[in-house]
Symmetry: C2
Subunit: 183 residues, 2 copies
C-alpha cells in the first residue's frame, strides 16, 4: 500500500493519463461487446466476458471475471464454457494454482466460423428436413400431372422456389462464407 502511494506520487503524469485511457478503452469495448451479444440473443455476459479476457494481459480465473464484471460465478462458468466451445477462449494452467485460468484466442476467423456453424448449421438442416418432408408428401415435379388442385399446384411451386433458394444459400454458405473465414 505504501509502495503504491509513493509510486503514484513520483511517476510522470503521462503514464497516469495513459493508464486511464487504457482503462477507458477496456470499459468501452466491454460495454459494446455486451450490448452486441445481447442484441444477438446470446446474453450480455458472454460478450462482456470475452471482451474482458481479450483485453487482459494475464490469464483470468473465474474469480477474476466475477470481480471485474460483477457477474455470478455460475454464469461466468457457463459463458466461459460456451466461449471455449467456439475457441474464443482457451484454458491455461498456472502452476501452483488450482484455479482454471483462461486467455483469449485471437483468431477471429475461426471463432466466427465456429459460432456461425453453431448458430446456422442446425437451422439449415432443419429447413432441409422440412423441405424434404414437404416434397415427399406432396410429390415432386415428376408426378406433377396427378394433382390438378390449384391449391396444390400453387404450394408445389412455392416449395420448388424455396428449395432453389435453400440450395443456393447453402452454396454461398459453404463455398463463400466458411471458406473465406478460413484465413
Amino acid at each position: 500500500m505504501l509502495a503504491k502511494s509513493v509510486f503514484t506520487a513520483i511517476v510522470p503524469r503521462l503514464v497516469f493519463r495513459v493508464t486511464k485511457d487504457v482503462e477507458e478503452v477496456r470499459r468501452r469495448f466491454i460495454s459494446v461487446a455486451g450490448h452486441t451479444t445481447q442484441s444477438l440473443g446470446m446474453g450480455r455476459s458472454v460478450g462482456q466476458i470475452f471482451a474482458h479476457v481479450y483485453f487482459s494481459r494475464e490469464p483470468q480465473s473465474l474469480d477474476d471475471i466475477t470481480e471485474a464484471l460483477g457477474v455470478s460465478k455460475g454464469g461466468a462458468s457457463m459463458c466461459v464454457r460456451q466461449l471455449a466451445q467456439w475457441g474464443a477462449v482457451r484454458q491455461v494452467w498456472v502452476k501452483g494454482d488450482r484455479k482454471d485460468y483462461y486467455e483469449a484466442c485471437d483468431d477471429f476467423g475461426r471463432i466466427v466460423r465456429r459460432a456461425l456453424l453453431d448458430a446456422i448449421g442446425s437451422r439449415m438442416e432443419r429447413t432441409d428436413n422440412l423441405l424434404a418432408e414437404a416434397e415427399n408428401l406432396l410429390g415432386n415435379a415428376a408426378n406433377g400431372g396427378k394433382g390438378k388442385d390449384p391449391d396444390m399446384v400453387f404450394v408445389r411451386k412455392r416449395i420448388r422456389n424455396l428449395r432453389k433458394f435453400r440450395d443456393r444459400a447453402q452454396w454461398i454458405w459453404e463455398h463463400s462464407v466458411l471458406r473465406l473465414l478460413r484465413k
Copy 2:
C-alpha cells in the same frame, strides 16, 4: 352449407386426401418458420405470418391473418410492416374492398439481403466507430514509441488485430455475401 356437404360426399377420396396434405404442409411450414424467427430473436409472429402469406394463393388481409394464426390485429399490423420493409411482402389492392391485402414476394435473395443489411449493417458501423475511437485515444501504430506501458502495448496489439479482422469481415460481407445474394 348444404352445397358443401354434397360436395364432400361426391368428390373422389383422392382430392380430399390431397387437400389434407396441403394443409398439413402449410401448418408445418408455419410452425417451423415461427420457431425459426423466434430463435433468431425476431418474435414468432413474423415468421408465422410470412409463412402463412407465402403459402396463400389469395392476397391476405390483416383479418385473414389474425383469423388464420390467432394473433392480435395490432401485432399482425406491425409484423406485416416489418415484412414489407424487407420486401418479403407487398401490398396489393383488391378493387371494391377497403382493406389492405398482402401477398408474398418470392425473391428470397433480395429479402435475405435486406434483412441482413438491417441486422448487420448498423452493428458493423458501431464496431467501426468504437475501433476508431480507441485508435484515436490510444494513438495508432505511428507513435508506437511513446507509450511503453506494457498494458498499453498489449491493448494496442489487440486492437490492431481486431481492426484487421473487421476489415476482412467487411470485405467478405460486401464482396461475397451481398453480391452473391444479388441473384
